[in-house]
Amino acid sequence: MMYTEKVMDHFQNPRNVGVIKDADGVGQVGNPVCGDMMTFYIKVKDGRLADIKFQTFGCGAAIAVSSIVSEMAMNRTLEEALKITNEKVAEELGGLPKNKLHCSNLGADALHKAIENYTTHQGGRPGKSKAAAAAAESCCCPYCDGPLEGGEGICQTCNVELEECPECHKATSAQEETCAHCGRKLH
């Protein structure tokens, strides 16, 4: 089996699946091009995550990652939850196959986005500005959602060769014929 027992357990019995209708914060990451989409909902009470729910469209690893992130963050302070890293998520699951590591990025990212969304709503604490959020939207590899640093032509996470789409200016695979974001014909 390519997955650890713990991954399979969280895939089969995911914790905290669902939607919080009156959530204090919502975070969504991923897109169907890379394969996975996650939405995290949080309720915050006295600076702690009083409730977390998630929904995930994706593979077994993506579902397990969402589940374990929700478990790791439950009842934690926002600061503690923001410290949950991709490495810790993968470690908690007893490891992930190399080509599935990007899934662990998505889980923590979705949670962090939900927290940012909450803090922005609160107004008191520095959330990301709209411009920064827009930049963050286009910051990521369209295939694995890994971070793209600087203007390099290759995603450090999944090794896809990237180029900038002349239409929407987002990063897309140099191998594909059309832009992953806007569908413009490239080559």
Partner: protein, 393 residues
């Protein structure tokens, strides 16, 4: 737990006759077929008998059959060997957008050597329009390659018609028939193809044993430079047991093919009719009727293929998928995208391919177990939640 194997396109079990035929060549008949002595000669006879059997299955002559180690090798052999043999004539290739990676990546390699290629599109049912092939052919075209049946969505291609158009322009034609041979009747003469790839593991033969048919008179460069094996076009000591097993599987297929396909086709049709009745928002991929008799492929909306495969596997059911997450390259199937499906829908790809031994009760079990799996995964899916909300409005 009940075990149900519905992944014919990945591998078939070895036919008992193939196994029996192979055993002596894994035991006492170890000689090299190229040796002149009494250890070699009977082995050479067995190899040539296998060649005749493979030729018989596709209505070819023995000397037109070249053994290879895989369907992928046969495709490499044909595409590279035929293109390079004619590079003085031109450097343009025409292939369909839904070819196997072994054809598409062979084309990519040739592009690095200065060839140019045109990818012919397919329609929503993954069928090539022969007129599109004709339009793509130029005075520089030295090879057209279109598969006989697509392994991912099952659609059969109008190969005989495409061959007629190629003949009119005197352009050599190769077909990747790996998914087809042994499962549907294939006759190289009535198709008129110049080259055709086939593989034993798609029709109850051993893995690592395949063949390329090359019509007499077609120009083709050697694929492995070496000795005189395979008429000097593919050097290297023969995989004797594999070749003998392939021959036995070919002979069995020639006899059993009609019965097998009649049986699997009835079961396939039941799956194609019944699955969308039990699960909403399911589409059939590929052509409804002009498809491989053992092949039923779908896209299940709002959920992803790997999650379905894992869930099915826990119930003892083996299937496959073209989703990005199931591929090591993390890329969604190029076939589904070429058909015009969007990424999210293509992610829900699920392929059931039946064996000769698949029974009605196996499909009953799948039809019973599968709907709750879909329900569970959809309950987790943000796309499904969105769909339900939009429907409520």
């Amino acid at each position: 737990m009940r075990k149900v194997y519905l992944d014919h396109i990945a591998a078939t079990p070895l036919h008992p006759l193939a196994r029996e035929a192979m055993l002596p060549f894994l035991k006492e008949n170890f000689g090299n077929p190229q040796s002149l002595h009494s250890f070699g000669q009977p082995v050479l006879e067995a190899v040539e008998e296998a060649r005749a059997r493979v030729a018989g299955l596709i209505n070819a002559s023995s000397e037109e059959v070249f053994f290879t180690a895989s369907g992928s090798e046969a495709n490499n052999f044909a595409v590279k060997g035929m293109a390079l043999a004619q590079r003085d004539k031109g450097k343009h290739l025409v292939v369909s957008a839904i070819e196997h990676q072994s054809v598409l990546n062979s084309v990519k390699s040739l592009e690095r050597l200065g060839f140019q290629a045109t990818l012919v599109p397919v329609d929503r049912e993954a069928v090539v329009d022969p007129q599109d092939v004709a339009k793509a052919i130029t005075s520089q075209t030295v090879l057209v390659s279109v598969m006989l049946a697509n392994n991912e969505v099952g659609s059969l291609q109008p190969v005989a018609e495409i061959v007629r158009l190629c003949r009119a322009r005197q352009v050599p034609f190769h077909t990747d028939a790996v998914a087809a041979v042994g499962n549907i009747p294939v006759d190289v003469k009535s198709l008129g193809v110049d080259a055709l790839s086939l593989a034993g593991d798609q029709f109850y033969g051993p893995k690592g044993s395949a063949a390329l048919y090359v019509r007499k008179g077609v120009r083709l460069l050697p694929f492995i430079d070496g000795g005189i094996q395979e008429s000097g076009r593919r050097g290297g000591t023969e995989n004797v047991a594999g070749i003998v097993g392939l021959g036995a599987a070919a002979e069995a297929a020639a006899k059993e093919l009609d019965r097998r396909s009649e049986k699997t086709q009835a079961l396939r049709d039941r799956l194609i009719e019944e699955l969308p009745r039990r699960v909403e928002r399911v589409i059939l991929t590929g052509h409804r009727t002009r498809r491989l008799p053992h092949h039923a492929s779908f896209c299940i909306e709002f959920i992803e293929g790997e999650a379905m495969l894992l869930s099915l596997d826990m119930k003892g059911i083996a299937a496959s998928s073209g989703s990005a997450c199931t591929s090591r390259a993390l890329k969604v199937s190029h076939v589904l995208l070429a058909m015009g499906l969007d990424h999210a829908l293509a992610q829900g790809s699920l392929i059931f391919s039946l064996l000769d031994s698949t029974g009605a009760e196996d499909l009953d079990y799948v039809l019973e177990v599968f709907p709750p799996i879909v329900r569970r995964l959809r309950d987790m899916s943000p796309l499904y939640t969105k769909y339900l909300e939009e429907n409520r409005k």
